[in-house]
């Protein structure tokens, strides 16, 4: 009944009293109501069990050995007797050291602290103290620690740091992203200097077009960003550009981007709905945001659409710099694009190389039609460390002229702007001229006609880029460095075809990365030499 239950609960709340009598303490007594083997202090063992033991696993049980005099229970086996029997002695162990504890007035010194049993009254307080990932061993210094953290350090939070959420006047700059499922969650803050691109799905309906906040441009630009956290300086988000996407996917850039276009229902469509936002934040090198701009993609939602996909991107640029993505720091990272550039006019003393996102080393990208002349312009970026081969098929008819065909094929193989220089390191700056490696271009003719002039025209059929790289730097952290880039174009003779016939020639382009690093030799410092010179009159007056 109720009183027995209460008594049982009361017993459960308080932990069992600790045993301090050494005669009753037994560490090896693990099995309940059963005799543990070789455990001489086990009360469940009988004399017959003791006679089968070989040794005592626990020979002595004492309290704290720092005490001057304490009780000790000594267990041993008398193997001389037949049958062997256990000997139990209770002795006074004396600590001979002069620094033994004679007495103590602090009861908890000698015993482990009993933990507090949680009750409904002290549960909240225990959760505050121990609920976190870490807690201090000293209960007193715990309180001192939290007091010290409360006054904010003015130097630390007066600028943004990497990863901190970008704060706005009411909360933080939102970058909607999928959290658990693909649905957009507006609670994802944009981290400072964290370039992110997210795509998520939002449920919409044409009737509620103007009431859904996330479809309107205002939602993304109305709150201004704080220039530094904990300050009152605001940076307004300006509209950089508006691109309108029609229902069939065609995008048009609007000429005037200062007019705010809000979603409204027109002809059964919801127009001016936000399909994508691209934030560009400019910051100083001390962690202060000075400019913020947003580029919008607006689109139309038809009546049947129940959800749309929104894409968001944010990128950070330091003021007065041209953002060039690094491909490694300093050595190239496998998988990042090989940086390339052009020599600017001003030879032979170039000031700096022209290198931007549009001048990359690219090779032909194979398409599904495999027709070289049909899909021109599909290029794949050369990524460091990835050997690539691609190609297409060229259909030659009798009517084709050689010279324009050769030029077209050269464009197909090399692309529109084939670079002249390749960056030696992943972080080579455009102004360091010595860090750039020139691309050596070779022309090989497939069919060597030794004695006659090669009057028949040659068409290029393959481009092979060989990138030689080496390991540079320390043994434990070698950095990849491009040493040599050779682009070899192989040409073949175009034989005139009889009219009506056609031929198919395969065109290939490939990139190969070769590691030419010499085996590393660790070098050690020379042993220090002992350089003792006696003064010249050391042996005076004998010498």
């Amino acid at each position: 009944p109720a009183d027995i239950r209460d008594a049982a609960q009361a017993r459960a709340r308080s932990p069992p009293a600790p045993i301090t009598d050494v005669a009753r303490l037994c560490v090896c007594d693990l099995l309940v109501a059963q005799c543990d083997v070789n455990c001489c202090c086990d009360p469940d063992c009988s004399a017959e069990d003791f006679s089968l033991f070989t040794s005592c696993s626990v020979p002595v049980v004492t309290g704290d050995s720092q005490l001057c005099s304490q009780k000790a229970a000594v267990y041993s086996l008398d193997v001389e007797a037949n049958p062997p029997e256990r000997i139990f002695k209770l002795i006074d162990q004396v600590n001979p050291s002069i620094f033994c504890i004679h007495a103590t007035n602090y009861k908890q010194a000698l015993y482990l602290k009993s933990p507090e049993i949680p009750t409904p009254e002290n549960f909240d307080q225990l959760l505050d103290k121990f609920g976190g990932a870490t807690f201090s061993a000293e209960p007193d210094s715990w309180n001192l620690g939290t007091d010290a953290q409360n006054p904010p350090d003015a130097n630390e939070t007066s600028r943004y740091e990497y990863g901190l959420p970008v704060l706005t006047e009411d909360a933080f700059l939102r970058l909607p992203s999928p959290v658990v499922s693909s649905w957009c969650s507006d609670a994802n803050p944009a981290g400072f200097l964290v370039n992110q691109a997210t795509k998520c799905i939002r449920s919409v309906s044409v009737e509620k077009c103007d009431s859904i906040q996330a479809l309107s441009m205002l939602f993304y630009i109305n709150s201004s960003i704080l220039a530094v956290p904990k300050s009152s300086e605001m940076v307004n988000i300006t509209v950089q550009s508006i691109v309108v996407q029609s229902l069939n996917g065609m995008r048009t850039l609007l000429s005037s981007s200062d007019v705010l276009r809000l979603p409204m229902v027109l002809d059964g469509l919801c127009i001016n709905a936000v399909l994508g936002v691209n934030y560009h934040i400019t910051h100083t090198d001390t962690g202060e945001i000075i400019e913020a701009a947003a580029a919008f993609v607006l689109g139309a939602i038809s009546k049947e659409a129940l959800s749309i996909e929104q894409s968001f991107e944010i990128s950070f640029t330091q003021e007065n710099t041209q953002p060039v993505p690094l491909s490694g720091n300093p050595g190239y990272v496998v998988g990042l694009p090989v940086r390339a550039g052009f020599q600017p006019p001003g030879y032979p003393f170039p000031a700096a190389f022209l290198s931007n996102r549009h001048s990359q080393l690219t090779i032909l990208h194979s398409t599904s039609t495999q027709d070289c002349l049909a899909a021109q312009g599909a290029r794949a970026t050369v990524l460091f460390g990835y050997n690539m081969i691609s190609g297409c098929k060229l259909r030659i008819t009798a009517a084709m002229k050689c010279q324009p065909l050769a030029q077209t094929l050269l464009d197909v193989l090399k692309g529109q702007s084939f670079p002249e220089y390749v960056a030696s390191f992943g972080n080579s700056q455009a102004q360091d001229v010595l860090d750039w490696v020139p691309i050596t271009q070779l022309l090989i003719s497939e069919q060597m006609i030794p004695h006659t002039l090669q009057s028949s025209c040659q068409i290029p059929v393959s481009l092979a880029i060989e990138v030689k790289w080496t390991k540079y730097g320390s043994l434990v952290n070698p950095q990849a460095r491009i040493v040599n880039v050779t682009a070899t174009i192989t040409t073949t003779t175009l034989k005139q075809l009889p009219s009506g016939r056609e031929r198919i020639i395969p065109i290939t382009s490939s990139v190969v990365f070769t590691d030419i690093s010499s085996p590393a030799e660790p070098s050690y410092k020379a042993w220090p030499t002992i350089d003792i010179k006696l003064p010249f009159d050391f042996f005076y007056p004998f010498v």
């Binding site: 720092q66 001057c68 050291s97 002069i98 620094f99 033994c100 504890i101 004679h102 007495a103 103590t104 007035n105 602090y106 908890q108 010194a109 007193d140």
Partner: protein, 133 residues
């Protein structure tokens, strides 16, 4: 003899002064050792250190007054010194019995100091009696 100053008391005062310096340094070192080796919370360490330093502060006037009283054969400084000795005895008993950790070395040092104080008090009383009469 016309000299009333007690020679045994003078010797004892001198020896006691030297012994007290050793006692203070040894007890301080042992408190530092105890605070590192054992669990010694700050709210128990503070009273022990306070008692030790209070005893050191009391010892200086106590010793000076004892010397002065005995040499000038005046009973007033000697009586004052006796009063301060009572205070020192109380503090010494605290360090002997009610310290947080009483090591065996603590027991020895404090017992020696207590017996020195006791002998000193007895000699001071006889000296006062000699000066008064």
């Amino acid at each position: 003899s016309s000299q009333l100053s007690s020679l045994p008391l003078q010797i004892l005062l001198y020896v006691n002064g030297i012994y007290y310096i050793f006692y203070f340094l040894a007890t301080l070192a042992m408190i530092i050792y105890k605070s590192q080796v054992f669990s010694y919370p700050d709210d128990l360490l503070a009273p022990d250190l306070a008692v030790l330093f209070l005893m050191a502060i009391l010892e200086v006037p106590r010793s000076y007054l004892g010397f002065k009283g005995n040499l000038t054969e005046a009973e007033a400084p000697l009586g004052l010194s006796l009063g301060l000795t009572v205070g020192s005895v109380v503090l010494c008993v605290y360090l002997l019995l009610w310290q947080t950790y009483v090591l065996w070395a603590d027991v020895l040092l404090n017992a020696l100091l207590l017996s020195a104080y006791g002998l000193e008090s007895g000699l001071k009383v006889t000296a006062i009696a000699a000066f008064v009469s």
